[in-house]
């Protein structure tokens, strides 16, 4: 089975947002980057699937030249090869445009199964996986927290507002991975050494035809400074009074 994992390099989750001079982009100076948290789950699930059903794992990203760092991390954990679809304007590429590039690559690679994270923790759109599956006209299951796979299909569970849903699907399929699905492994020294010899293909991304136009970017309004109403249980009546009469939420 040929398994593709689509991953994204994102700013670390501890960054403070700063707005660039044009007022429409993030000022990324001083940012550190990492593999998006949910994509780590996708990489792990791909390796687990290879261990269970056999086959190979190809990691694909649309990102800057530096994203080879994140790709090598995936190779060190057990992926077989990687593709960097190079795009210096990766941060501005919208989900539709990213999904199109990935769909073309997945077709070219002849994959049977794609894993990706539920959402990338920078843009929070959670759109690429669902769009990719739709463009490929494959079965697509999102936000998966439990998965059983065979050669021909699978059963997935996911949490929704209604409860825990069980979904059945056939292959080929796109699966987006949520917390609870697995515990990502750490790369060992042996894996890190082996990763250096694994192939990383670099291709240039076609120019993005973005449909999303960011008019402006702003920091959220500062909240009005609150107050400590008191200490310990003795402060509860003052809190109730404030919630009822001042905030009117009780």
């Amino acid at each position: 089975m040929k398994i593709v994992v689509c991953v994204k390099r994102v700013p670390t989750t501890d960054v403070q947002a700063k707005i660039a001079a044009d007022g429409a982009a993030l000022d990324t100076s001083g940012f550190q980057y990492m593999l998006s948290f949910y994509d780590e789950l996708a990489v792990e699930q791909a390796i687990l699937t290879k261990e269970q059903l056999g086959g190979e794992v190809v990691v694909v990203t649309v990102g800057p030249g530096d994203a080879t760092k994140e790709l090598r991390e995936c190779l060190a954990k057990g992926a077989d090869s990687a593709v960097l679809i190079k795009d210096d304007a990766w941060m501005d590429r919208d989900a539709r445009s990213t999904a199109k590039v990935l769909a073309d690559k997945v077709r070219e690679l002849g994959a049977d199964l794609v894993f990706t994270g539920r959402v990338a923790t920078d843009r929070d759109n959670a759109a690429v996986g669902a769009m990719l599956g739709t463009l490929l006209d494959w079965a697509t299951v999102t936000d998966v927290s439990e998965l059983e796979l065979t050669e021909s299909g699978g059963t997935a569970k996911r949490e929704s507002e209604s409860g825990v849903e069980t979904l059945t699907f056939s292959l080929p399929a796109v699966v987006t991975c949520d917390k609870g699905l697995n515990e990502p492994r750490y790369a060992g020294l042996k894996g890190i050494m082996a990763a250096k010899k694994k192939p990383v293909e670099e291709v240039d991304a076609p120019a993005a035809e973005n449909h999303v136009q960011v008019q402006s970017l702003a920091l959220p309004a500062e909240r009005q400074e609150g107050r400590i109403v008191g200490e310990g249980a003795a402060a509860v009546p003052a809190l109730i009074e404030a919630l009822q009469n001042e905030a009117q939420v009780l």
């Binding site: 209604s162 917390k179 109730i240």
Partner: protein, 318 residues
């Protein structure tokens, strides 16, 4: 006149509140609103949507199990049939899957988790969070159809009834994915994204065995959910679905009560747009107090039970 198609999610014969809010947001732009509901179990829901502001309702009938790919195709088809220029849904698990899928079918962008949505020029403008709310982007779409999901608890539902005539169509057959079972949440349990009141616990709760205190406080409020910080979810004290923050859920309830949560930047990003924030923490210097409207410095095990009793009394007196 502009037309907006709205996907209406439902369970147990009732439309979800967040879907009614999406209808309200669509209606508030002055557009004609076409609501879409899909079987199984949508007949009763369809007939009630006129009262929630739907000018027309399309009921896809006959499916015995819900299918996300069929539902997405039904939405795209309805957009095309009606010549609509926008497609909206609640930013729920279902909405956040169906809208990008339908958008891909319509060769349009998909814009998630909008906290503002309004008509602008020939199209629409929305505000949505990036980096889990550390920044807010004002966006437009040059796509033929503006496809977006709207954050629950932000938009008011529509109070004026509209015609809401129901047209039925057959469900699209032979889906690729079907939902074969839904293990429903315990009665009265709300998701943290939907609940008007969220009571969240962090490390200060000292162990999973103490979260019943937060369950009881939530129960005292009625419509409330229990949330959690990443630390306690990673420690296995609470389920993933309850995690609030950058690698969990972004919430905007009327009232957010943070108990024993010091306030890491990733957590603060996920709850800072709550209308009123209360923090209860032993450490008077905890960052959460900078964001909170009201704080109590003290031991959760002492303050929370007292607060639960006081909330019960206050609500009984109404």
């Amino acid at each position: 006149m502009a037309k907006i198609v709205v996907h209406v999610e439902h369970s147990a014969g009732r439309a979800r509140q967040a879907s009614l809010e999406a209808l309200g947001a669509a209606k508030a732009t002055g557009a004609e609103v076409v609501a879409v509901v899909a079987d199984p179990g949508a007949a009763e829901v369809a007939s009630a949507l006129g009262a929630a502001g739907a000018d027309a309702v399309v009921h896809f009938q006959g499916a015995e199990a819900f299918s996300p790919d069929a539902a997405a195709r039904q939405l795209a088809q309805t957009v095309q049939d009606h010549g609509a220029n926008a497609l909206l849904a609640a930013a729920s698990a279902q909405g956040r899957e169906l809208i990008p899928r339908a958008a891909a079918l319509l060769d349009s962008a998909s814009i998630a988790d909008c906290i503002r949505f309004e008509a602008a020029g020939d199209g629409y403008e929305a505000v949505r969070p990036v980096l889990a709310g550390k920044a807010l982007a004002t966006v437009r779409s040059s796509s033929p159809v503006f496809c977006g999901t709207l954050r629950p608890n932000v938009f008011p539902p529509c109070t004026d009834a509209a015609a809401g005539a129901v047209e039925t169509k057959p469900s699209i057959a032979d889906p690729k994915v079907v939902v074969t079972e839904i293990a429903a949440k315990q009665a009265g349990r709300l998701d943290v994204k939907e609940a008007p009141v969220v009571v969240s616990g962090g490390r200060g709760m000292k162990g999973p065995e103490h979260f019943h205190l937060l369950e009881e406080l939530a129960a005292a409020f009625g419509d409330a959910a229990v949330g959690a910080s990443r630390a306690v979810v990673d420690a296995g004290w609470r389920p993933h679905a309850e995690q609030v923050g950058q690698t969990g859920k972004t919430v905007a309830p009327q009232l957010y009560i943070a108990v024993g949560i010091s306030g890491a930047i990733q957590h603060l990003a996920g709850m800072r747009t709550s209308r009123v924030i209360v923090a209860i923490n032993k450490d008077a210097d905890a960052p959460i107090f900078k964001l909170a409207d009201y704080g109590i410095v003290g031991d959760a095990f002492e303050v929370v039970p007292a607060l639960t009793e006081a909330v019960k009394t206050a609500r009984a007196g109404k």
